[in-house]
């Protein structure tokens, strides 16, 4: 099977295989994505994040069904944590989405973080490109259950849906820096539980200090019962219109591209730094530093200089 051709012809097997290859940092897949990059940029990418157990998968399932009723096609990338000890993982987000498996207008892919911090995996952006080229109208990225500072999702999406639940802490939690700053739309899920209104007030108060042009709406929902789903969709549409009309969409995508380029460069440089040829150099510097004959700042500068020199010869 020619993978590039398969992907353009909307073959799900080709899409699935390409995502695996991107996850394994396969050169052929990277070449295909480079070649087909001009086909990206059409899908609307929505990040769904929030603490573990907030109902992100259930909400993703319901939002997808609502979009399907409007004849939009949807891809879902669901990220779950990889064990730092064994490298294994249980990717269980699909459990909440089983009605969608046989829908031809839906594609679901589970990914392990594979050692990457920040709520996504290294290959998530590559997987988004694959699904964008395939031609999905919407791509949902569901992050791992986040704590306070896993904000990679901002760099990967056009809009961020922040899923909260009642009773996770007092208002000081709501004004901390980190994930609370990245939501474009807030949903308090499981809003039939006690404390939902208080949580809403606390989040609203936090947002009052915020002087962005876009005031993130705070909605209540009970995803399991399909309550409040249409309102979430509506607000996501509104946010997208705002991005387009204000010129912020391009600005956001510019920021995202910049971060992606820098990150890819960083990764290649680190890979090169840690390749066989440089291992000895690193080991020698470590010895020097550990015996206090050299300081780590100078050691790092020496490595950079050496790498730049080798590059120049290339």
């Amino acid at each position: 099977m020619d993978l590039a051709e398969g992907l353009l012809k909307k073959d799900k097997r080709a899409a699935a295989r390409l995502i695996s290859m991107v996850e394994n940092n396969n050169q052929e897949a990277i070449e295909i994505l480079s070649k087909l990059y001009q086909h990206t940029g059409k899908a609307r990418v929505i990040g769904i994040t929030g603490p573990p157990g907030a109902g992100k998968s259930t909400l993703t399932d319901k939002l997808t069904k609502a979009l399907r009723r409007q004849n939009k096609t949807v891809a879902i990338i669901a990220v779950d944590p990889t064990s730092p000890f064994t490298g294994g993982s249980i990717l269980g987000d699909r459990v909440r989405m089983s009605d969608l498996y046989t829908d031809t207008g839906v594609f679901i892919r589970s990914m392990g973080t594979r050692g990457h911090l920040g709520g996504l995996s290294k290959a998530t952006l590559g997987a988004v490109k694959v699904l964008d080229i395939y031609g999905f109208d919407y791509i949902f990225i569901e992050t791992v259950g986040v704590g306070q500072s896993e904000i990679d999702i901002v760099k990967a999406s056009d809009s961020v849906l922040m899923v909260m639940v009642p009773g996770l802490g007092d208002d000081i939690q709501a004004i901390k820096a980190g994930i609370m700053e990245i939501g474009d739309v807030f949903v308090i899920n499981k809003a039939d539980r006690e404390g939902a209104d208080r949580t809403k007030v606390e989040i609203e108060m936090m947002l009052d200090f915020n002087h962005r042009d876009w005031r993130p709406p705070v909605l209540k929902a009970v995803a399991l019962n399909n309550d409040g789903i249409d309102e979430v969709i509506e607000k996501l549409y509104e946010h997208y219109s705002y991005l387009e009309e204000s010129g912020k969409l391009l600005e956001k995508r510019r920021n995202n591209s910049e971060m992606e380029i820098l990150e890819l460069t960083h990764r290649s440089l680190m890979d090169e730094l840690l390749n066989e040829g440089n291992k000895n150099e690193v080991r020698n510097l470590v010895e020097e530093v550990v015996h206090r004959r050299l300081d780590p700042y100078t050691a790092s500068n020496q490595l950079i200089r050496k790498m730049l020199d080798t590059r120049r010869i290339d």
Binding site: S83, S98, T102
Partner: protein
Amino acid sequence: MARPIRVLVAKPGLDGHDRGAKVIARALRDAGMEVIYTGLRQTPEQIVQAAIQEDVHVVALSILSGAHNHLLPKVVELLKAENVYEDILVLGGGVIPDEDIPFLKEKGLAEIFTPGTPTQVTIDFIKNNLRREL
């Protein structure tokens, strides 16, 4: 990080619980595999679509209901129809009488693991019988 083996653990049919499947899922996770868990009451069609989209190396089917002679071959048949069977190792497990095992193997199940099988046996079998490179 090494390329992990990806395994879909699925439960076809109308079983009431999935304790056994979760034990296997956990054991495979601890063996360094990426386990995609789909939960209870899946149809063969759902399982096959999940296997394709997740691009798994292994489909592990757990079944307790007694409908194995119908549901397990059906999964194989659909994988074949989608042209992905050659790439995927299909395993069965659960309450399956010994006398049914030859029939299931003939239908394309690579192995059947019955209650009491040490999880390490399953892990080794997977590692030694993958049908495509990682």
